[in-house]
């Protein structure tokens, strides 16, 4: 764990406004995401955060060496 469980929960909650607003912002650049696409993007982001958070922090140095 790179972060406390409470911290992880808050980060995931904080992704909600980012994903919702990202969709609005993207539409100004002509990229229109459907609700399903936005949901998939959101899940991918949450997955990425989970992988980052659950990655063993002492394993990070080994990975760097390898």
């Amino acid at each position: 764990m790179r972060i406390s469980k409470g911290g992880l929960l808050v980060i995931m909650a904080f992704l909600t406004p980012l994903i919702v607003e990202l969709r609005t912002v993207l539409s100004w650049f002509g990229i229109r995401l459907s609700v399903v696409e936005t949901g998939a993007l959101g899940l991918a982001l949450i997955g990425a955060v989970l992988i980052w958070a659950l990655w063993p922090s002492n394993g990070g140095t080994e990975a760097k060496l390898a």
Binding site: S4, G6, G7, L9, V10, T16, P17, V20
Partner: protein, 580 residues
């Protein structure tokens, strides 16, 4: 048994009153929140089980219960805690404290029953007038009497704190006013000043009019008097949240308040500037000259200053806590904050949402841009971030710290508390984001069915259906969050076990203390005088011109009782009848 030093141990009698007050507040939150869900589902056409004309009764109750009952009960409770804790002495006479609480309760019941009359035929009353009760809508006299009693109760509560402070001052003539007491007193001072507006509106005009003593009122005058009070009241809700951010958040973060003097300056600015801004709610009103509106805008914009200063001071205090707990780096210190504590996380998330609500407030404050957003759903999105999150979420979060202080019991389930505050944040993200966006394409607030026969709304992004779905989802999550909160509070109070591990009743220390603040900052008489002068400058000419143009009692305005609900086709007939 270890010596415990929670609030209930220090002030058992006061703890009892505050418990009763907070429970009144929580009850209002639960009912008001449930009504919010009914509205959210009705408006968005997800689920409609009440007739649309009853929507406005529900809306009136939702508004009054949440922005008046829930918030103000909570704040009189928390200010009683603040004054007694920081002065380290009890109230002068506990019977007086119970007395003003009883008056506020009677007021609440009168208002509540008269609103309920809108949907219950057996109650021969009606008050479907929304919380703004604009004339010529006329509510049952009980509504106005209840409202006045409630406000008088808050006045007496303020007197209670002032005389506790006066007694303390006699014993401590050379000491600075402790910060929490300073905050409670400055807040009360602008509350006294601003509630004069609504008192005159009700006692001189609306109540005699509803009793038939006078037969006409001037709608623009009573409306202006309402907003004389109606904007300061939002700071009345917000100041207890600010007090908690200044005095509790640094402590919960493990740090100290960055600057006590600046905190005092902020509250003095609120005292001075809260009232002469109300006309910004009337940017689109006829009968008020543009120059007066511009003055109101300038005052409003400068009122951003204390909030922007608060953002810095509070975040810096949190950062101080994080760094003392081992946090490092430019932003990595954020990880060192106590995110597992629902009291901390709830308040921090409330502050974050207030930053967003602050932005939409800046738009609302802009004079000309008001044409775009006035009375649209944008405004509803805005105040659900301010009173609905900055205040409400802070109050709920703070309860995870206060209820143990007041009961001597541990919170039933702190993890559930964390889930609850996070759920509020997510629900509010969906709901307020959608409301803001809907406002920008012109969807109005305060309407049961925002679908029209002759035209459709054209959203810039997505569809109206998507907006509706977001609001309904948000409303459901928020209501679930309220239920989780109330469940936790009930089970803590009735089922929780008395614990010795309750933390001591303390608030945050300071990095730069009151000794760094010039003595003049504690001169409440001076600041109150300046506030009065500013109010006179901002309001005397507009009020004079409104009375000059429309008369004190208006140009023969007939009362309109919303209880007389007619069939629309009959109404159309009557419309043809009055047409020339």
């Amino acid at each position: 048994m270890a010596m415990r030093n929670a609030y209930i141990d220090q002030f058992p009698k006061e703890a009892r009153v505050i418990r009763a007050i907070l429970w009144s507040s929580f009850l209002a939150l639960t009912i008001g929140g449930t009504l919010g869900l009914i509205q959210g589902l009705h408006r968005t056409n997800v689920l409609r089980f009440i007739p649309s004309q009853d929507y406005y009764t529900v809306l009136t109750a939702h508004g009054v219960l949440l922005v008046i009952t829930f918030t103000i009960f909570f704040l009189v409770g928390i200010f009683t805690w603040a004054v007694t804790t920081s002065l380290d002495r009890g109230v002068k006479d506990i019977r007086f404290t119970w007395g003003w609480y009883a008056i506020m309760m009677i007021g609440t019941l009168l208002v509540g029953v008269s609103i309920l009359g809108g949907v219950v035929d057996q109650i021969p009353m009606n008050a479907d007038v929304l919380y703004t009760f604009y004339s010529p809508f006329q509510a049952h006299p009980a509504f106005y009497v209840g409202f006045v009693l409630f406000v008088v109760g808050t006045w007496l509560a303020g007197f209670d704190w002032f005389r506790t402070w006066w007694a303390w001052k006699k014993d401590n003539p050379d000491e600075r006013i402790p910060l929490p007491t300073f905050m409670a007193l400055t807040t009360m001072l602008f509350w006294y000043l601003s509630s004069i507006g609504v008192a005159i509106s009700i006692l001189a005009f609306l109540l005699p009019w509803s009793l038939g003593i006078i037969d006409s009122v001037n709608p623009l005058l009573t409306r202006t008097l309402f907003w004389f009070f109606g904007h300061p009241v939002v700071y009345f809700w917000l100041m207890p949240a600010y007090m908690l951010w200044y005095t509790m958040l640094p402590k919960l973060s493990g740090g100290k308040l960055f600057s006590d003097p600046l905190a005092r300056v902020v509250f003095v600015l609120f005292l001075i500037l809260s009232t002469p801004v109300g006309i910004h709610h009337q940017y689109l009103d006829p009968g008020i000259a543009e120059g007066f509106k511009f003055i109101a805008m300038t005052n409003t914009m400068f009122l951003l200053l204390p909030s922007l200063l608060t953002a810095f001071t509070v975040v810096a205090s949190m950062e101080h806590g994080a760094r003392q707990r081992g946090g490092k780096g430019y932003l990595s210190w954020l990880k060192a904050l106590p995110w597992r504590d629902p009291a901390f996380t709830g308040m921090a998330l409330a502050g974050l949402m207030f930053a967003a609500g602050g932005f939409s407030g800046m738009i609302n404050a802009g004079l000309s841009i008001n044409y775009l957003v006035h009375n649209s759903w944008w405004v509803v999105g805005h105040f659900h971030l301010t009173v609905g999150t900055a205040a409400a979420l802070t109050f709920m979060a703070a309860s995870y710290w206060f209820i143990p202080q007041l009961t001597g019991k541990e919170i039933w389930n702190r993890s559930l508390g964390l889930v609850q505050v996070v759920l509020w944040f997510i629900g509010m993200t969906f709901m307020s984001n959608a409301m803001h966006r809907a406002g920008l394409f012109g969807m109005p607030r305060r309407t049961a069915e925002p679908q029209y026969q002759g035209f459709d709304f054209e959203p810039a992004v997505g569809t109206v259906a998507e907006i509706d779905a977001q609001v309904a989802l948000g409303a459901a999550l928020l209501t679930l969050s309220v239920y989780l909160f109330i469940t936790n509070m009930v089970l803590t109070t009735i089922g929780g076990s008395t614990s010795d591990a309750i933390p001591d009743n303390t608030y945050a220390g300071t990095l730069s203390g009151p000794e760094d603040a010039p003595v003049i900052i504690d001169n409440l008489k001076l600041w109150t005088s300046i506030a009065v002068v500013l109010v006179i400058i901002a309001y005397s000419l507009p009020l004079a011109s409104i009375i000059d143009a429309g008369g004190l009692f208006g140009p023969g305005i007939d009362p309109w009782k919303p209880s007389v609900v007619a069939d629309p086709s009959l109404v159309l007939e009557s419309v043809r009848g009055v047409m020339p």
